[in-house]
Amino acid sequence: MNIIVCIKRVPQTADADVRVDSSGKDIERQRLSFDMNEADIYALEEAVIFKEKFGGNVTAISLGGPDAEETLRIALAKGADNAVRIKAEELGEIDAYKTAQLLALAIKSKPYDVIFSGCMATDDAYSQVGVILAELLGIPHATLVTKVEAQEGKAHVYRELEGGLLEHLEMALPAVITVQTGINVPRYASLIAIRRAASKQIETIGKDEISDTSLTLNAEIEELFTPPVTKRAEIIEGDAEEVSTRVATIIKEKGLI
């Protein structure tokens, strides 16, 4: 089985101080750490599980700058056989639609039986790329998938809806499956695998291979700003002893316990 997995390198912003840069349209990246997008870690694992079950090979593909190769090497260390980087630095402004177009161009020339992506990238939070990719390739898709059972040419997939309700579908392969976190338990890469991945070849695709005449940009970020605060918590100051006493008093006065 030929398995493709889309992987994005994203800044880790959940517990970082995220600041707008001087252009007003992007963030200051220097002080942030970067890693594989969370859902993509699960997508990669699912791809590797597929390979272990059905044989074949896994190709990890990422549109990003040169440092995306670092993330692709992690994918190689975790079980991907090949890696492809589409050189974002040569391709101007990028949004979800253009990302999917570029991924489709790179994937079109390769054999594939199934394509995994994450359900959402944590930086832009679009939840678009996987589904657009499927439509551009003319294959079916299913999003927010937390379980897949594949057979010859078809798959039973389970989408997770609001409230944890599952939607069980039967689909023909090839298809794009956008993976929700929790679908599996991702493995760690062994040190040996990491070392081995360091010397592997990463295929690159740039403007020489892609004529951008047909590429469309649908969305453009005009401005980034701190969300306006409608309700702000009363921050209780002091050491652990002081804040705890104060909180306990509030709980008592309000009769919350």
Partner: protein, 324 residues
């Protein structure tokens, strides 16, 4: 014919809340643009839904077919493509839900319409459409301009647009579409209800929510212990369930449970909107987080900006004291 088109979302025979929010946003836009709002109901026997939505739109398009009993993005896309082509709406709206996420990107792509997802606000002037949405774990908002086009497709974040009890009287249009039926390549099989566990976090007056700030599985015991001392139960964020540190029935949020306790204490929880969706109904919210910019502090009533490992033991003691 221009206008605003809003897609009605229903599941297992019931309209979803997001439908009313989407229609509310649609009315707002219709008023601003001097256009009318049309709700689209794709359902098996749509009449009852139409009855419930009559006052929410200027017009309701009803397509009655058994293929719409359950959600299948392919069937929805086929019908909506036809409707959008004939209506030429200025803006098409739907929820940024499990339904909208599965449908909107492929629909927009097939029709070459610019799409933006998870919108919090919509601004449309002189044919230029801009939306406000969140990025980077909710730490920043972005104003995004879409490519100029006669039609746009937007998905809306739930809980953002409030239903303002409209008093319209919709014209009902029953539409007969030629539909291919459910395709072989994607077939709906069934819905599977979530598993019910031993503890029902929706029934407790006091819930302690634990998030990734807890760092390790072993530390969950700390929170269990704290919750027990203050007479509450432990709920959690999605990553805690993903890591299998707590069972799925403890998950609070859009893809987990919705709780409305008297007291919710968030411990090492960042406050992603998918989590907040499940707990914002709590009477009083207290958050402990070491990051002063964590979005949870925009939801909480009281905040403690500190290391949870330092605060939790002391807080346990103090609350135990007042409990007596």
């Amino acid at each position: 014919m221009a206008g605003i088109l809003a897609l009605v979302e229903h599941r297992q025979g019931t309209l979803r809340d997001i439908t009313f929010e989407t229609l509310a946003c649609g009315r707002l836009l219709a008023q601003q643009l001097g256009e009318s709002l049309t709700g689209v109901i794709l359902a098996e026997n749509p009449d009852e839904f139409a009855e419930q939505l009559k006052s929410h739109a200027h017009r309701l398009i009803l397509v009655n077919s058994p293929v719409f009993k359950n959600f299948n993005a392919e069937c929805y896309q086929e019908a909506l493509s036809q409707i959008i082509r004939s209506e030429n709406p200025t803006i098409v709206l739907m929820g940024h839900s499990a339904f909208g996420m599965d449908l909107a990107p492929s629909l927009a792509t097939s029709l070459s319409i610019p799409l933006m997802t998870d919108c919090l606000a919509v601004d449309f002037h002189d044919g230029i459409l801009k939306v406000t949405r969140q990025m980077y774990d909710g730490k920043l908002n972005a104003r995004v301009k879409l490519r100029k086009h006669p039609s746009y497709l937007l998905t809306l974040r739930s809980g953002t647009f409030t239903d303002d009890q409209a008093q319209l009287n919709a014209e009902i249009v029953n539409l007969d579409l030629a539909l291919a039926g459910e395709p072989d390549y994607r077939r709906f099989i069934e819905y599977i209800e979530p598993v019910v566990g031993e503890i029902d976090i929706t029934k407790s007056d006091v819930v302690v929510g634990v998030g990734r700030g807890i760092k390790e599985k072993e530390n969950i015991a700390l929170v269990e212990d704290f919750a027990k001392a203050i007479g509450g139960v432990v709920g959690c964020t999605r990553p805690i369930v993903d890591a299998e540190w707590l069972p799925k029935d403890r998950q609070i949020g859009s893809s987990g449970k919705t709780i409305k306790p008297k007291l919710y204490i968030a411990v090492g929880v960042s406050g992603a909107f998918q989590h907040v969706a499940g707990m914002k109904g709590a009477e009083t919210i207290i958050a402990i987080n070491k990051d002063p910019n964590a979005p949870i502090f925009n939801e909480a009533d009281y905040g403690i900006v500190d290391d949870l490992f330092k605060v939790l033991p002391v807080l346990k003691e103090k609350i135990s004291e007042i409990k007596g």
